[in-house]
Symmetry: C2
DNA sequence: TCCATAGTTCATGTATAATGGAAATGACTG
DNA sequence: CAGTCATTTCCATTATACATGAACTATGGA
């Protein structure tokens, strides 16, 4: 991932609602979630949600697919993995060998199956 | 790391100059770099640099230490690691076991020694 | 074709962020 | 104590991001 893409992904996630959207989609898993259901669950207006979904989609963090009248959204886990890889380059500075294990883990596609088991957000 | 801290760290890094600042400081390593030298290397005005260093410092990503007339800045690798851990919780959704190896690696302090070997930025 | 449903896009007001000049602070030197 | 150097803070300007109401598009059914 190049710097430009990483910056837009970082900016996309640096937002209370958007990071929550992404989390929900990850937890929901490969089935995805319709925009309406997402708006309902998160308690936001449909146009606000749509705008923020657009930001996430532009950053490659979510994907949309029309299904009848509704539009279903999915988290793009691979893009998150790419972002993690980018940040780890910074974290590990000049000694990439130390990050290789993590990078290998991240680059294995499908390595993270979302199965909705925990909720670290008791707000 | 809680959501609020993660968001401010993400916002801090979602900026061309600031991510470059952070990278330089990581590459420089534990010796750190004086604000003037940093401004010189990055080709930015001292007040612009100072403002952006403040943003990074508020997010806990850099630390400052006065040294004579100059002020030396250091990357807070542990904060970056904490951010990576936070993001990985999202990436791995409900199956944290799959991320445990990465998280263990990240949580090992000093696991990433910056020794300035590569430069993935041929701009 | 007409209507209802599901979402999106547009336009707008407002809040927040970024920039850069100028002045202020803090530290060493003579 | 005056002068200089390194850096920050203050302030005004400009730019960007956000949320929202209203209008629009697309789909499916009577």
């Amino acid at each position: 991932m190049e710097k430009t893409g990483a910056i837009s992904a970082l900016a996309a996630l640096a937002h209370e609602l958007r990071i929550e959207i992404f989390r929900r989609l990850v937890k929901t898993g490969p089935e995805g979630l319709a925009a309406g259901a997402l708006a309902d669950v998160l308690g936001v207006r449909p146009n606000t949600l749509s705008n923020n979904l657009n930001v996430l989609a532009a950053a490659g963090l979510v994907r949309a697919a029309r299904e009848g009248r509704s539009i279903r959204y999915f988290a793009e886990i691979d893009q998150m993995r790419a972002l993690l890889g980018f940040l780890m380059e910074d974290c590990c500075g000049g000694d990439p060998a130390l990050c290789q294990p993590m990078l290998a883990e991240l680059s294995a596609p499908g390595g993270c199956s979302p199965t909705l088991t925990k909720d670290p957000d008791p707000t």
